[in-house]
Amino acid sequence: MRSRAEMERSGFYQRLALPALVVITLFFLVPLLITLSSAFIDEGGSLSLAPIISVFSNPYIHRIMRFTLIQAAISTLASLVVALAGAYLLFAYSFRFKRLILALSAVPFVIPSILVVLGFVIFFGNNGFLNTALMNIFSLSEPPIRILYSYKAIILAHTFYNFPIIMNLVATYAMHLDRRLEAVSYTLGASKAKTFFSVTLPRLLPAIISASSLVFLFCFSSFAIILVLGGGPRYTTMEVEIYRQARMMGNTGAAAALSLFSIAVTSLLLVAYNRSQRRLSKSEAYREPLSLEKRPAGLVGRVLAVLYTIISLLFVLAPIISVIVRSVYSSSTGFTLKWYRQLLNLERATSHMGSALTALTNSLLIALAVSLLAVILGTGLAASIERRKKSRGALELLGMLSMTVSSVIIGLGYFLISSRLRGNASLSYTLVVLAHLVIALPFVLRVMLPEYRKIPLSYAHSAWTLGSTPGHAFFSVELPLLKSAMVSAAIFAFAISMGEFNATLTLSSSTIITLPIVMYRLIGSYNYQGACALGTILIAVSAVVFIATGTAKGTHHA
């Protein structure tokens, strides 16, 4: 629009982008470049391709690359199958639990990966609730389901975590399609199933492809799930190997070389996802959902619907509820609050539990700082992007850039920086805040941009003609209209930071104690109940996010 030219001239909106740009450049691009440059420096310290060559000619690495891609593909496929079954039921039948399933499908968007892992162990483990229940029901002596620490566990966890995404995205898209095509198909004599496969599915293809590319991306970059449920060198993915090479082998060059591969894949996937999203919004005209007279489900339909609802509940809610239950109950100790007492330092705690309260406080403070900073920077950036004439695309890309790099690699950059600096605790925690900030910024931007777009230019113009400077107009007229969006974005950023595991673990030294880190250490030392106590707090935070932000457009970091 022409009038943006004048807004650009005013300079105020230009300047709004500066803080975010500074942060992104200094605290994302610089660490990233430092990391990647290690891939081009050999042991002697001179420029060379040796690290890259040695890494990618290693058959062990080939195996890891294959495994990463294949497990991601299988997980995506499995998620697709489960999701499409659900999408079909939602689409074809009207039944009472519809809204429940849709709401459930938004849950994994807000659950941090470390919680997924814990829930899995508690529910599906050998001594987990599922096995215990089955053993009691069928009077078995041995746990029938032994899947933990295996390929199956990884796929299962990925499927649980991701099928709701596909179902949610596809179902939402499907609801806006013109249903008359299906009606025509029915009148021509085709059955519901046949219609679904020959008429509906092809039309849903853009949404399916879009959702699948997103899920593939998450499964590819999966870290916590592989780390814990994978259980060993047989089941290692790229991200885990990067972490291992950098933190356990001290082999920065190899880690950096692997990062190149990781970034290449994630960038490609994000480009594919973005393009498919754009195609989605241009494809079939979005219509008001046409409520076709839904046939009430016949017996088969009703059985399927109930079955699917039970399975969804099982997959989505059971692990979460198990965590809460386990935090206060176990077969050996009965019902007890002792883990919470230890958590709050009301009772003497051993090893990792002793640091639980510190972890909680730290995580809360870090999350607070991150959410405040992210919202301030993100809002300024969004306003600057929206009110520009030139270089909007470039600025938006820059704002979203950190999404193309996995959190492990972001953490790696900070690890390299911190190992060169002689730091104390506050430096370490500053690095954690910055890493979380860089990770959260694109999500805040994604919330604020469309909200800001809704504000007509004429408001600011009006204020200017009434005598207000551009800056005053922004703060007195535009910002108040963004209040609720800013709160949503802040809650998002808060939750991302609270649950952030990948980057924090990668950059952490023994001095850094956050909630997910302590949970991980407790799991590692088999103190599941303690981990569950901490996990319950994370669940509470996630619940707040879930309620506050409503639905899907989610944060989701594997």
């Binding site: 009038s3 004048e6 113009h461 204020a463 003609t465 009434l466 005598g467 005053h472 108040p480």
Partner: protein
Amino acid sequence: MHNSGLACTLNASYDEFTLNAEFAIEEGELACIIGPSGCGKSTTLQLIAGLLPLTEGSITLHGNDLTSVPVHHRQIAMVFQEYALFPHMSVASNIAYPLKLRHLKKSERTKRVAELLTLVSLEGYEKRKSDELSGGEKQRIALARALASDPQLLLLDEPLSALDAKLRKHLREEIRRIHDETGITTLYVTHDQEEALSIADRIIVMRDGTVMQSGKAEEVYHAPNSLFVATFIGDGNTLPAHLFADGEEERSGVIFFRPEEATVQITVPGEHLPHLAFNEATVESCEFQGGRYRLHTRWQGYPIICYSERRPKGKSINLTVRKKDLLYFEDGNV
């Protein structure tokens, strides 16, 4: 011309057209810019307000050169087509917005807000929110807010176009009254030429980014300087000039006259002044307008609109137009 009002020379180029407008209005005048869609009327207002940059030219208001003055210092208030009332503020806060910027005390602000609400005939509306207001009320609040900033120049961008016909008529009179009470130099953009004719002191006709004519309403109506202006303002009849070459040189171009200048001859034509006769024009339709009838006729294939006091009895009538009422445009086309 000595002028202590607004004088502008505006040059700016865009994808759709190039703006090359030059005009002046006097202090205290209510001037209307009219023209077809896309002719640059709104762009002109935005350039004057400073919301768009000038490629070249100047803007002088009351003797001050505003060309390089930023928007918020120009003391030019603008009412937008969408009113742009701030949704998170009450009516009183909206109107008080410019007063707050000028650091008026709370009691002074309250007093001034009440005065302005009375001026726009909306007493007692202080606490309402903008989503509780009708279109006409929003427009008047936007006007009150603009006046609160005590402007040297008031710009109105199609303020009534979103309202229904009856409300438009009522509100344009209100705008005229408010203008007369405050005496502020006002520039008003509309595409409704009837609106412009009824309330403007001066009419500026624009087309494709240029000013075609600028003058008093009567002037532009009776003495349009081009066929475009003639046909844009009010109704008129256009016929090729060569049909009436009466022994004089061959004439190209067109002749033009207003419907009310054509007299319907019911009886045998009398001749007092030199006139043109259109004999046996067929009456195609007849609209009753309350005080008179508006006839659409066709004469030798050309449409002619005229008025009559009585409903014509037959299908065919005779019309005469006095030659001194005719306008001639050489380069015009029918």
